[in-house]
């Protein structure tokens, strides 16, 4: 979790926090002990939702721009995959080679995201949310009613990843590793980006746009470029999403799902790129297993209540909760340590509590 040091330039193996190693080993070894269901529907799906939520975290956490249209961007990439590549519906399906389809889909999504950025960055707070929500709703109704390009209500089915190197990439284990590589890649990229000049500039704009403008920064352009990058992240997430589902329909890009992405990002925590992934794991586990915990008519209440509790007791989400627990443990550890030393009458260390 110590990505700050990881990307600060003064990186050495010794600096890796043990928890990072444990997490890495766990993620890589996960398919060896989990069932196919846990690998595919819990593991891979969490990573995909985490990636899409990461694109929102990037905008909202570093740029202060809460966009509800991130899923729409991912959805456009998913639709482009079905339109330009192959599908089994007999509508569109231009049959481009898979690599070209992926590149064009992701770039198309990124351009769409740039466009959303261009129309929304001059607004702040609630107005940004409203504009992006309007885009999401408009896109949902458009794909539902457009039959020529998007095949309307039915959408597309039979969208599959290519078989490469003799591996069918939709099998649980290969697909999990594919999602893992993408998720870790973007996690690293966003962590790095946050420390780069661009990322620092973006955070400065979030904190005080007027001062940054006075310093000669092109605030609007800076924000639009952030939308472009987040569009690439969301677009790749959308490509994985369509491969995961094998299909895309208006239900995939519905407003309720768009809000799910916001919930994932908020519950996970917006201050660090790991937050969206924590939120996605919590969301997917609850979505799948809440129905086993309680009467089937009420299971959505469990999901809502769990998220409400997290947000109520930790405005920073799960990430904040974890940080708070860690700080408390450290505090208590220090207190114990100093208490022991005081008992031993060790004069050298008295007052360590105050220092920490």
């Amino acid at each position: 979790m110590d990505s700050r040091r990881l990307f600060s330039g003064s990186f050495s193996l010794k600096n890796i926090h043990p928890s990072v190693l444990i997490t890495a080993v766990f993620l890589v070894a996960y398919p060896s002990f989990a069932t196919d269901f846990f690998i595919f529907q819990i593991g891979a799906y969490s990573l995909i939702l985490g990636t899409i939520a990461l694109s929102l975290m990037m905008l909202a956490g570093y740029g202060g721009m809460v966009s509800l249209a991130q899923l729409t961007v991912a959805g456009l990439a998913a639709y482009l995959m079905a339109i330009l590549g192959d599908n089994s519906m007999g509508v569109m399906g231009l049959g481009w080679p898979w690599w070209l389809t992926v590149i064009v889909s992701v770039l198309g999504a990124a351009l769409f995201s740039t466009f959303i950025g261009a129309v929304s960055v001059r607004t702040e707070g609630i107005y940004t949310i409203m504009i992006t929500l309007a885009v999401a709703v408009a896109f949902f109704y458009f794909v539902r009613q457009n039959y020529v390009l998007f095949n309307g209500f039915t959408g597309f089915a039979g969208v599959e990843p290519p078989t490469l190197f003799g591996v069918y990439w939709r099998d649980p284990v290969p697909f999990y590793y594919l999602s893992l590589v993408v998720a870790v890649g973007f996690f690293a990229a966003v962590s790095y980006c946050a420390r780069s000049t661009f990322g620092l500039g973006l955070q400065a704009i979030r904190d005080n746009p007027r001062r940054m403008r006075a310093l000669g920064y092109n605030v609007t352009l800076h924000r639009i470029v952030a939308y472009f990058f987040s569009g690439i992240v969301a677009g790749v997430g959308g490509v994985l999403l369509v491969w995961f589902n094998g299909r895309v329909s208006p239900g995939t890009v519905g407003v309720d799902v768009a809000i799910d992405i916001l919930v994932i990002a908020v519950v996970g925590g917006m201050r660090h790129p790991i937050g969206p992934f924590l939120g996605a794991i919590a969301f997917v586990l609850l979505e799948n297993f809440a129905i086993d915990l309680i009467d089937r008519e009420r299971f959505n209440m469990v999901i809502g209540a769990a998220f409400l509790l997290v947000v109520l007791f930790s405005p920073d989400g799960l990430l904040g909760l974890w940080n708070r627990v860690r700080d408390r443990l450290r505090f208590r550890g220090n207190a114990q340590l100093s208490a022991e030393r005081v008992n031993k009458d060790d004069p050298a260390s008295s007052g360590s509590l105050e220092k920490s």
Binding site: S249, G251, T252, I291
Partner: protein, 415 residues
């Protein structure tokens, strides 16, 4: 650090748990319906159908106890596949009943192909291609589909009502396409007309029908309306207010209890509207009456009469239980014997005999009804005729039926 280890350990334990293994004697049955989203009420009634069948068998079939595991979708195909995947791969169910709506059915059929050792029975989904084109070996539909539900209506409108040219108003997705096809195909074969420009497709949840009403041609004899629930009520109210006087023909869910029970002038206006479907609330038959009584007794807080969703889920669950009885609960060898029993099953339901064809789609009776004003002033659907044993290809051969093409806005062209 310590905390993190705990979290990891917990996750590990959770992953290792894998599919919970049932006691050797139990059979796990999964039921999937829309328990969230716009169709929640319908999904809940579907679940009542499953429970009614299980209660009738005292949760035992083939000498084994049946354990019911429920799954929920929000009517989108993605969520249906996620829910059914959880039922199969995590909960380890051997039989799945569901889903509820058409596009979910198509998605679940595709998923069924990847799980050859599990048997899937439809819930109430009524899209044609779930069983017509590239069907799955292990997907059975003992409930009929949207085009079958229209059986006899086209002939009735042409011969009895004397309509020669109709306009069409329907929601813009697969289920109404199927219904329009099922109605127009016989109607046009007899010589009826329905020009493409007199067909109006509105999105689900459409509120304002004024533009449609204004565009309705004058020279048609009737309007075929395939709208459901609130959409139907909205259209009827607005059509009545704008002084419309064309007679109507209803789809299977257009003139159901939710419309007939509504207040206002629209009520009197729908009297005489013919319609067709897999159930008829007022069918005067002891088997149906017994079913309604059992439903009311088991679920006092349910609908006044079981909906077609409860009916479809009930039939499919009952088929599974009967087949289990026949093979003494033997689900070994990829459920081969069980599927054979299902394929050969022919049984008595509240709506007559049901069996499946070679593509595992139901052959069953369909009810032709007409709205009448009851003795106490209530509107109700009177059963005009029972069309016996309607099959999916509507009487013609499979190859000939495929030539009609996929259902859609312009099929049949009929002009």
């Amino acid at each position: 650090m310590g905390k993190l280890k705990h979290v990891l350990a917990a996750t590990l334990a959770l992953s290792l748990a894998g599919p919970a293994i049932a006691a050797a004697d139990d059979i796990k049955m999964g039921a999937l319906a829309t328990l969230e989203g716009a169709f929640t009420v319908l999904g809940e009634d579907g679940m009542r159908g499953v429970k009614l069948a299980l209660q009738e068998f005292d949760y035992t079939a083939g000498g084994k106890k049946i354990e019911l595991v429920t799954g929920s979708s929000d009517a989108s195909p993605d969520s249906a596949v996620r829910a059914v995947r959880k039922l199969v791969e995590q909960d380890g169910v051997q039989i799945v009943i569901g889903p509820l709506s058409g596009s979910e059915g198509l998605a679940v059929k595709d998923y069924a192909k990847t799980q050859p050792n599990v048997t899937f029975l439809n819930g109430s989904s009524a899209a044609q291609d779930t069983t017509l084109r590239s069907p799955a070996e292990n997907f059975f539909r003992f409930s009929t589909e949207g085009a079958q539900w229209m059986a006899g209506l086209g002939e009735y409108a042409y011969n009895e009502k004397g309509y020669r040219k109709v306009a069409v108003l329907a929601e813009d997705y697969s289920f109404p396409y199927t219904q329009v096809f099922g109605f127009l195909e016989p109607f046009c074969r007899l010589g009826g007309k329905s020009p493409i420009d007199a067909r109006f497709w509105v999105p689900i949840g459409n509120k304002d029908y004024s533009s449609v009403i204004a565009a309705l041609p004058d020279d048609v004899d009737a309007i075929f309306v395939a709208l459901g629930g609130a959409d139907a009520v909205n259209f009827l109210t607005q059509y009545e207010q704008s002084g419309g006087d064309l007679p109507l023909i209803g789809g299977s869910i257009t003139v159901d209890q939710s419309v007939l029970g509504s207040k206002g002038k629209a009520r009197s206006f729908v009297v005489g509207t013919p319609s067709a479907g897999p159930v008829s609330d007022t069918w005067d038959d002891p088997r149906w009456k017994e079913f309604v009584a059992a439903y009311k007794k088991a679920f006092p807080d349910g609908f006044p009469s079981p909906s077609l969703f409860a009916h479809a889920y009930y039939i499919n669950s009952k088929a599974a239980l009967l087949a289990l009885n026949e093979v003494n609960g033997d689900l070994s060898d990829g459920e081969k014997k069980f599927r054979e029993a299902l394929s050969n099953l022919s049984f008595e339901t509240p709506t007559g005999m049901v069996s499946v064809d070679e593509r595992r789609n139901a052959i069953a009776d369909i009810f032709l009804t007409e709205v009448i004003e009851g003795p106490d002033g209530n509107l109700m659907n009177k059963t005009i005729k029972v069309i016996p044993q309607v099959n999916q290809t509507l009487g013609v051969s499979y190859d000939k039926f495929l030539e009609y093409g996929q259902v859609g806005r312009e099929n049949p062209s009929c002009s």
